[in-house]
Symmetry: C2
Subunit: 232 residues, 2 copies
Amino acid sequence: MNYAVLLAGGTGTRLKSSKIPKQFLELGGISVLESVVDKFLVCDKIDKIVIVVNEVWLDHAKSLLVSDKYNNVIICAGGATRQESLYNGLKLIRDKYGISSDDKIVSHDIARPFITLKIIEDNIKALDNSRVADTVIPATDTIVKSENNLFITEIPKRSQMYQGQTPQSFYLSDFIDLYEKLDKEYLDSLTDAARMFVENGYQVALVKGSEFNIKITTDYDFMIAKYLVGIK
Amino acid sequence: MNYAVLLAGGTGTRLKSSKIPKQFLELGGISVLESVVDKFLVCDKIDKIVIVVNEVWLDHAKSLLVSDKYNNVIICAGGATRQESLYNGLKLIRDKYGISSDDKIVSHDIARPFITLKIIEDNIKALDNSRVADTVIPATDTIVKSENNLFITEIPKRSQMYQGQTPQSFYLSDFIDLYEKLDKEYLDSLTDAARMFVENGYQVALVKGSEFNIKITTDYDFMIAKYLVGIK
């Protein structure tokens, strides 16, 4: 089976104008959360959708997804880190449906509401040729590295640099096997799933994202998102 | 003296919707070019402004800047590469005004019309403590490196990664000395001035840019720019 695991664990501390986490803000008449779930619902290659939410917001998330169309959607509580939240969602799948060797996971950040059907399908397709896939766009700005936040250490070749988006996609069994054998402290330090795979010997294929697939982190992003939803 | 060198050499091939280079498109009632020049005019620490334009667009650029307020603005023709265009602008300064050891250059990309007075002033100030300064913001997306455009090679630590913007600022004499002793092929390969300095042993200080200081490259960017100009 193909599962979407939607991560909404954040509490949105970088969005200064709002006390509500960004995933529950309204964008085009519905919450960001609903808008992302609806994008995955139209993909007939996704069998089930699991949403991982910060425990405090569990009831609120449930109250948004009461319509019949959300019958295949399961909501569960996240963990202390992004990686643990993802693992919680995957454990729920394993406990509820078991694991089959061809179970695929498309994990997506709820803060990216402009995900398209094509990007979701391209992620699933990429797993035919690679165990892991990561959605990226070529970096538009020159990327600069600084190890001390004061001076430039290196300016890597721009043609080799990409901005990571989500989805990040992989086989359910690979993630669980890796996660359960790795050191807890190391896992907590990881900011995304692709890194865990890259650093543990997996080949991670690039999937083409989109300029529109922005992540809502700051007030600036949310302002742009409100504009984009109006013109689409 | 402090000079602004504004780079408008591009022909804007990535902006598909327009045959006019982005720097001449209208944004908020005036051209992008004028809008950038006007930002630098309000900075009383900038003594002269040099604009480097693709030769084909020289007359057009001049026709936009006829008002008296542009009396301190000089327009010259660019070269085949970005670095050569910058050098052309600097040579013009040397030939016209001579070189003094404390002449500072704030070089800025015309495609970034949302530059602020604060960013310009911070660039000039940074040159009190460092020979070179580069304007950056912390990377919002995870940065991914791929050497073959197919698979991830590395995911560097996000906390050390920045998106380069402009201005890039430096001492006039440093640039000319370095440029005139370096190999032509190497210079042609450079996509920006900061790289030349970093790769030749200079310490380049980071100056804080802004999320709003976007570069207009694609149609998406221009659409966002039109929106931003309306709300500012």
